[in-house]
Amino acid sequence: MINRKQPPALKTAHKLHIPNPAKEKLDNHIPVYLFDLGETAITKIDFIFEAGNLYQPAPLLAFYTNKMLTEGTLSYSSFEIAQKLDYYGVWLNKSVSKDHAVVSLSVLNKHLKYVLPVLNEIINHPKFSDDELKTHTRKDKQAFIDDGHKVNEVAGLHFNQQLFGKRHPYGFLTTAADFDRQQAAKLQAFHQQRYTAEKCNVVVSGKLSKDIVSLLNYFFGYAQKGTQTNENPTSSVIRSGRQKQYIEMSSAVQSAIRIGKLSINKTHEDFMKLYILNTIFGGYFGSRLMKNIREDKGYTYGIYSMMMSFQQAGVFLIASEVGAEVCNSAVDEIYKELKILNTELIAQDELDLVKKYLAGSVLRSFDGPYQVADRFKSLLKYGIDYRKYYMDLMNTIDSVTSQELLQTSQKYLQASSMLELIVGKAGK
């Protein structure tokens, strides 16, 4: 008979292997980073432009410039582009974040050479038209109005402004009217300024064909410099708004909670410790917030906290949707947990658990070529060497003490410094 009470002995996982990308330059100096890994004959290409929300003078400009890239170009109509991409089974993903705009393409290697000319049209020769734009803004506006009935969406939108303030582009609050204000000419201008060789990085991952660099150079190595722009996109300083906000939605059966504050980003030496501390607090399934507010009290389906890093700031954020009638109790419990984090040393067994969990989680996050490329991309904008960063992270996970984490908590996560937003019904 086996003794089932006795856990199997744990072994140390493989040492983390962090591959270095091959680095090339196209004729127009666009840097290309290549991760030739994996066994599946699929290539993923990410074009990353400094064209995120940070650079927009008004809401939605970055979003629509990116979205409309595929809706008509010099040589093809939007339908022809869609047909070509679908015909070759391409996954094309366009996205805009606070700092960047990305056009990302995944394709079976055998189709790559048919698809690159289309990608070239999309990236270098979009033709923005008011007709196409209107079709999209009209339907997106309806989806936006639908979202206005979701406590979670409303909370996300408004807490963003509460954190970053009205004046900074990170904090711009999108309204339904902004959809009507979009103009093709403005998109065209934004494209000319921001989708240029000197504001572009390319990351390629997968099982790569030998001629990938020359193919990329043929299609993307000629594009010239863009219009000169002011390199400092915004002079406004990030200044958070009101400390507490409540937005009532009377029919809500759950309320959305946001509690958080501005913080440091990945360039700061304390970021890793804060990241580990956040994991303990609300960053994994066994976290303190989950244990207390879901697994002990049953107030919510899920609660989590996170450390986010942007070019001009970092953010610590707690988010959950809880039963409207227990909303106040849930908020109280969150502050109680923060207070414990600010005042008590983390027990050694809890710290050990999180260290093991995080080590496994970092290993998992490097599993496969596309994940490796994602890790690399997440640090590219800070000019940090990603191998050094992850080796440092593994070392910090290994060496950090409860004492250091308590200091980190007191320095960055004081309960009294938090901003708070409730959307829904706050109860009594």
């Binding site: 493989h14 994996g38 015909y87 089974g89 009935h149 389906y301 039963g323 658990l353 496994g360």
Partner: protein, 437 residues
């Protein structure tokens, strides 16, 4: 003794083919089915356990139970007070989901610590802790999940309404979350124990493992941890077959949402039906990608919908072919329905042109290839193929799609997309009505 079934020959033949998933398949004495696919490129291993029980197996007065039970599986087992703690200590991460057909638990862990996964999974298959506190708390958690996903979202109750509209006899007439919160609130410890006793047995489960590990190594672990578990009584499922629908059904509801929505659901065959692949491709011609017919003609050109989809539910038993779309402001329901009907008539009368046919085939092929990148996805696909009774589907699906001709797609349209086979729901925006008056 271990019973080896049909591995060697077919497995070796497959070695040369690109993109194929090679696997070994075993059945333990106690009926547990085990599938192993070795992938040397990853430091992690995926361990997937599928229990052949879903919402369709529930009593009509105790719906939502299979899913509630899934939550209780994390409340500690006979010899191990916490499931998550030792798994996280071993660097693992896990989750689970329940659908109408089955309940699936999956985890990934550094391969060196795979035995921790076997220890944990076998103990909760052996016996649970049945803690009253866990039942209390998880009832609340699931009620909050019910609110978050179905009640506190515009259009969130859409499937809660649509299922009983389209199904009258088959248990697909309720959602996995259950018909009503009261069913979850009323679950007792005795219900929990009975359910566990009946369904959570080796003979009702499929274990699949994907990672850098051989079949022999997995088998040895299975022997140690799973073989001592009692087989349990095999279950013969006797579900009522949904009667053939004789006339079009119409349901009209008003809700506090900003815009109108329409949903049309047609009955189609089961997952193993010979027409499954043709019907799936039919939905792709209509709705997959930005070059699809519905998106281009009805969303972009005519601007009748803000979004519009056609898809199949892909259930194990007889499923649904669904159109669902949100109407643009100012478009009335009749116009919207007629536009969809026109597209249906067109595809029933005309063969899909060769180029369009090839396009959807390519689309399906890439989707399958892309989904195979993840070891967890591969483990799930292996387990589900085994559940469906044809493990080899994991490799033959691409071919099955390729065999579908343009006439097959047209025939599928003529068979499924028939008026009297349709249940339509008009989901009206209550607030908007008032304003218009």
């Amino acid at each position: 003794m271990i019973f080896l079934q049909g591995i060697p020959l077919s497995a070796w033949v497959r070695i040369e083919c690109v993109g194929m998933i090679k696997y070994s398949r075993y059945i333990l004495d106690n009926g547990l089915k085990v599938i192993v696919h070795q992938d040397k490129s990853t430091p992690m291993v995926a361990v997937n356990i599928l229990y052949d029980v879903g919402a369709r197996d529930e009593h009509p007065d105790k719906t939502g139970f299979a899913h509630l039970f899934e939550h209780l599986m994390f409340g500690g087992s006979k010899n191990i007070p916490s499931y998550d703690y030792p798994l996280q200590l071993a660097g693992g991460e896990n989750n689970a989901f329940t659908n109408n057909d089955f309940t699936n638990y999956y985890l990934s862990i550094p391969v060196q610590n795979i035995e921790t996964a076997f220890w944990l999974e076998s103990d909760r298959m052996l016996d649970l802790a049945f803690s009253p506190k866990s039942l209390d708390v998880q009832r609340n958690v699931v009620i909050e999940e019910f609110k978050q996903r179905y009640l506190n979202q515009p259009y969130g109750d859409f499937w809660l309404l649509m299922r009983p509209h389209a199904y009258k006899k088959h248990p697909y007439r309720w959602s996995t979350i259950g018909k009503d919160i009261s069913h979850i609130a009323g679950a007792t410890m005795q219900d929990v124990k009975d359910f566990y006793e009946k369904y959570y047995n080796p003979c009702n489960a499929i274990l699949s493992v994907v990672g850098n590990i051989t079949g022999e190594e997995v088998l040895e672990l299975c022997h140690k941890w799973f073989s001592p578990i009692q087989k349990g009584t095999p279950i013969k499922r006797k579900l009522p077959k949904e009667p053939v629908q004789k006339e079009k059904r119409i349901l009209r509801v008003e809700r506090d949402v900003p815009f109108d929505m329409i949903c049309m659901a047609y009955h189609m065959g089961c997952r193993m039906d010979k027409d499954y692949y043709a019907t799936d491709l039919l939905s792709d011609v209509l709705s997959a990608g930005n070059s699809s017919r519905l998106y281009n003609r009805l969303v972009k050109e005519k601007q009748l919908f803000s979004d519009l989809d056609a898809y199949i539910t892909g259930d194990v038993d007889d499923g649904l072919f669904v159109f669902s779309g949100k109407l643009m402001q100012g478009v009335d329901m009749e116009m919207a329905e007629k536009a969809i009907q026109d597209e249906i008539s067109h595809i029933k009368q005309h063969k899909v042109p060769e180029k369009e046919h090839k396009k959807v085939l390519n689309y399906v092929r890439s989707t399958l290839e892309f989904s195979n990148i993840s070891i967890l996805n591969r483990a799930l696909r292996l387990a589900v193929s085994e559940l469906l009774g044809d493990i080899d589907m994991v490799n033959s699906e691409t071919q099955n799609y390729s065999k579908v001709t343009s006439s097959d797609i047209q025939q599928a349209a003529n068979k499924v997309l028939v008026d009297k086979n349709c249940s339509v729901m008009y989901y009206m925006a209550a607030g908007k009505r008032k304003k218009n008056r």
